[in-house]
Amino acid sequence: MAAYVARRIVLIALVLLAVSILVFAITTLLPANVAYLILGPFAPPEQVRALELKLGLTDPVWQQYLRWASRFLSGDLGESMLMNRPIAPMLMEALGRSLVLTSVSFVLIAVIGVGLGVVAALRHGRPLDHGVSVATYLGIAVPEFFWAIVIIVIFAAWLGWLPASGYEPLSAGFRIWAQHLIAPTITLVFGHLAHVSRLTRSSMIEVMQSPYVTAARAKGLPERVVVLRHALRNALLPTITVLALDFGRLMGGIVVVETIFAYPGLGRLVVFSIQNRDIPTLQAAILVVAAIYAFANLVADLLYAWLNPKIRYGNAA
């Protein structure tokens, strides 16, 4: 197992290395000159030239990459072009806020998704089951920004219960802080429930028909114990993998949700840096997201292996 984990981590490092090359290549090789982008279309050519020299844009591309990568590895993410601030603290702050948002959403997705899946499985084929399928289906069939807008229309514009957008730090008071989290969280949760609830439902239905559930019932155990202790524990196995993958998906979902709700997290930072041509910030932010994404996948695989003794690594991969 240790060897497997080590190998996976090496693999992740390699993938991230490749992603960094990809990110660098796309942002430098595309037919758009960084100096030109910074200075705008009316800058005199000699000024563009001077900035190119200052930024080292006249060096060969591989030298630029190595310089960027080695600085990146030593923890120096460079300076934001737009705000003339070091990127690292800015990025960490945004990451922290995004992690709050995604973690809260993730816990809710797990609890509500599994709950709905179990309820649907126990009422399988009845109206409640169909109701759950339709509701969760709507969640994934419709883009997040649409739900965000529905929530704003209902809860902010119409009922006036929630602020339409923005962010308040925890120091402003728990209530105010939490109020700003509710709308983006609901949006993220609703958009990701379906995978979890569907999978839990189908594996629950399968497990409930298995001999050991029949045996547990035959022993005279109360139904609640049969469902929670015997059936759910086994049915959760595939769900856990999907949950960990959902954490990665949430990192994509925050782009739109944070933009709509003006929540100053990582997703908004990416959009902001694109809109303002702040390429160093963009490069750093995408790499951080890729790293989180890769580790979420690793955690998914490890959890699955740990929970499922049938899987043996080494020759399987």
Binding site: V15, L22, L30, Y137, V142, V153, G252, V255, V289
Partner: protein, 282 residues
């Protein structure tokens, strides 16, 4: 519905509903220029922010343009986005997958690790990254969306190829000393189509959603285009007094995505009897 009650080779309700919804939307999109009740891009300050009424069924927007007419014209853009982006993914992903599955060894390794790298970044971020350094245009967004979904198509094509590579008819073609290109595209590809087509139809909805999200973020269609994502994005500032401008394209997108999903799921169950019996048992 118990599986044995359904006679073989009938169209499931799912497939019929999917076909009806998708067909209706495609038809409306194709006929849009002729059936749109008003011009979609004529600005008229006297008809701003009208709620839905008998003349403007879905109301008007902040420039007094008819929301229904814009919605109908936008249908074409969404469909074009979904289809063209998926075509790009197929055009690159299928040959890559065929090659990886057929040659195995280092070719497989290189191509699939490449796919891993693309899949290491969330699709929307990859799309943003590709579009970041070029002036936005809808066709570029379609290309970027197609690019983002290459790995998934390639992986599927690879696994189908792997399962076909040892079939007798492939061995026979090899024994006849057919060229590799012939075997890949004339022997394997025709047999790999059914699962690929089903996957592609579901990919169309992913492409529509991602494309509209990118337009929403300003990296797709540009004003005065009536792309649904852009319509929603522009309507954002008027949610409190004119929510219909944003709700109409949102609901339309909802319907289209559900229609295509039903169609794809229905087709998949029809093509894969194993899945059907499992779904029936569940």
């Amino acid at each position: 519905m118990p599986p044995d009650a359904a006679p073989r080779k009938t169209w499931s309700l799912q497939l019929k509903a999917g076909l009806a919804i998708t067909g209706a939307i495609v038809l409306l999109g194709l006929l849009a220029p002729w059936i749109a009740p008003h011009p979609w891009d004529t600005i008229s300050m006297r008809t701003r922010f009208l709620p839905p009424n008998p003349t403007y069924w879905l109301g008007t927007d902040e420039y007094g343009r008819d929301v229904l007419s814009r919605l109908l014209m936008g249908t074409r853009l969404s469909l074009a986005m979904g289809v063209s982006a998926t075509a790009v993914s197929l055009a690159i992903g299928v040959p890559v997958g065929l090659a990886a599955g057929y040659f195995r060894g280092w070719v497989d390794e290189v191509l699939m690790r490449g796919a891993d790298v693309l899949m290491a970044v969330p699709p929307i971020m990859l799309g943003l990254l590709v579009l970041a350094v070029t002036p936005p245009a809808l066709w570029k967004t379609a290309l970027a969306v197609g690019f983002v979904y290459i790995p998934q198509i390639a992986r599927l094509a690879r696994s189908v190829t792997l399962s076909l590579a040892n079939e007798d008819f492939i061995q026979a073609a090899r024994a006849r000393a057919e060229g590799t290109g012939y075997i890949l595209f004339r022997e394997i590809l025709p047999n790999a189509w059914p699962p690929l087509i089903v996957e592609a139809s579901l990919r169309v909805t992913y492409a529509i959603l991602l494309g509209s999200a990118l337009s929403f973020l300003g990296l797709g269609a540009q004003p005065p285009s009536s792309d649904w994502g852009l319509m929603i994005s522009e309507a954002r500032s008027f949610l409190d007094r004119a929510p219909w401008i944003a709700l109409a394209p949102g609901l339309a997108m909802c319907l289209l995505v559900i229609g295509i999903n039903l169609l794809g799921d229905g087709a998949r169950e029809r093509l894969d009897p194993r899945l059907k019996s499992r779904a029936g048992a569940a």
